[in-house]
Symmetry: C2
Subunit: 193 residues, 2 copies
């Protein structure tokens, strides 16, 4: 999505530690018009795949998921994060390692909110090592539903998450894939779509 | 908003401790079509107030804020929650007490994402004691911007937050105001709008 690459070049900032700061338009302040445009593009890419549910993880995935789901005209379920491993009740859960914070957390979805038989599109703001996505895929599998694909705003192509998922046969659509970035700038993977 | 009252009656559940569970359509699973309808109604109520920014707090406020902001065609800033009081940097912050979890947390907004002179609509999913809203109003005041009003999905009218704000002259628009609730059902405050 050319508009995403342009937005990153215009408003993103590369910080030490391979951090791309996009807090001005994506995950602190949200450019709503741009967000809805991104959701429309994600919906277009998966319009023939029978998606009937969008899933994401709180907090910064929610806005992107709502935009995609509004365009697809399907509901959203957002998984919740808990630090405690001592969770019970009627829930699906998966353990996810955060490289950003170097700690494990639990991703949790109430069984009441996710039944079997859905065709689920996973949506998130970032894809780096893919751990959060893998946690969501585990929960979707536990529920008896099916992951149709993954749509993310920004993929860090120099980390392995996206390409590992693709090698496993998962369809991953990223609005921009960053192949390298440093203080001199950002380089994108050429798009063939 | 009649549709919100009907939704609560159809899909909400009252749990012990004055908890209204609306996780099936509002804050875990999101009924996207209903969400966008609610955003349109919030935008209609404030369409003549020159709102140029919507603010909320992560996580469950984000979806409602995006819906309202998309309809108003303005950006969203969502404040972040931190447990640490030891925060520094170019931020605005306020301390908020959570009655649900009986603990204090910090509400934080980066100064880069909130400049002076904005006319801000605060949006959230719930209004009970109003502590989160007061935290946001403090941050907006710190920034040199102005709170134009507050729009929430569900107000617990039997708690004091909404009416205290109104007594202070703050315009509060709630899509439904619950005057009482127990295992026998939910009673709404009559609407005069």
């Amino acid at each position: 999505m050319k508009a995403m690459e342009e937005k990153i070049l215009q408003e993103g900032h590369v910080l030490p530690g391979n951090i791309l700061k996009v807090s001005h338009f994506l995950n602190h302040r949200i450019d709503t018009a741009f967000l809805m445009e991104m959701g429309t593009e994600m919906a277009r890419l998966f319009e023939n795949d029978g998606v009937d549910l969008v899933m994401t993880i709180e907090a910064s995935g929610i806005a992107v998921a709502v935009a995609a789901a509004a365009s697809l005209q399907v509901p959203v379920v957002f998984a919740k994060k808990h630090k405690s491993t001592n969770l019970s009740g009627d829930i699906y859960k998966a353990t996810v390692h955060s490289y950003t914070h170097d700690e494990d957390y639990q991703v949790v979805v109430s069984k009441e909110c996710l039944s079997a038989g859905h065709r689920v599109l996973i949506v998130d703001d970032f894809l780096a090592m893919g751990n959060a996505i893998n946690g969501l895929m585990s929960i979707i599998e536990q529920s008896g539903s099916q992951t149709v694909g993954v749509a993310v705003a920004i993929e860090k192509g120099f980390q392995s998450g996206g390409d590992t998922l693709r090698a496993q046969g998962v369809r991953v659509e990223s609005m921009a894939i960053i192949d390298s970035m440093d203080e001199n700038g950002v380089k994108f993977r050429p798009s063939f779509s």
